[in-house]
Symmetry: C2
Subunit: 141 residues, 2 copies
């Protein structure tokens, strides 16, 4: 049985409110690495009182508590991921999409390279061209 939205919040010490549940639920249902702005625009129709500040605050809280992961593969804006298992990300330089990449040994890679540092988390970001984009306009890419 997979963890419910409310469970995920509570496991990370976050009191579930309407807004927090909606944001966490959206992320757990859409593994598309959305930005704060995308999340706001998706939820706004069903929660018309929602504020963008709440979205930013909540995402920061969720990330701080380890309920979600912040992805900074895109220099424009931060993206968010409810998949907190160790895996890498790939971003297409042409279309901008962010994909998941399975990586077996991410945790051990990070752990190996400590020299007096305390490593709490590690992110592997790969960039290049995705299946769709590698064919069209390869020179321009």
């Amino acid at each position: 049985m997979k963890t419910s939205v409310i469970d995920r919040l509570q496991e990370h010490g976050i009191k579930p409110s309407l807004q927090r549940i909606a944001i966490m639920k959206y992320l757990m249902g859409n593994y598309t690495h959305p930005t704060a702005d995308i999340i706001f625009n998706k939820l706004y129709p069903s929660i018309p009182t929602l504020s963008k500040t709440t979205v930013y605050n909540t995402l920061k809280l969720l990330a701080q508590q380890g309920a979600i992961t912040e992805i900074t593969i895109d220099e424009k804006n931060v993206r968010y991921d409810a998949d907190i298992s160790p895996h890498a990300h790939f971003r297409c330089k042409h279309c901008g999409s962010v994909f998941d990449l399975p990586v077996k040994n991410l945790a051990s890679i990070a752990a190996k390279n400590i020299q007096g540092f305390v490593v709490t988390d590690a992110q592997l970001y790969c960039k290049g061209y995705c299946k769709k984009c590698k064919t069209k306009a390869p020179g321009l890419c």
Copy 2:
């Protein structure tokens, strides 16, 4: 013999100008992962006509041509690194410093996980607490 600043520019198809040389030289002499703003402020006294736009444009050009690497470990601003050999980065969540971490097999890790993607570059970002910060205020960290 290590490559000179001008060589590094020319190797990557960049015509060396006063400003480009100054920026590339600064990066090759300071492996501190500076931001565009830091670079501007360091060079401005000696090049009083320098524009911040030029710094941004030049850094983007250098990165595009592969003469330097963009580091997005910090969600606030992009950092730059003249060390283009494969290595990882560590950022202290307390003091914000970014350190280099040697990693043997970064290239192979990235290559292993392609499934139809063309991977042009890979970055491993680790976060946690550095030697100095892990001792003081460990609870707050």
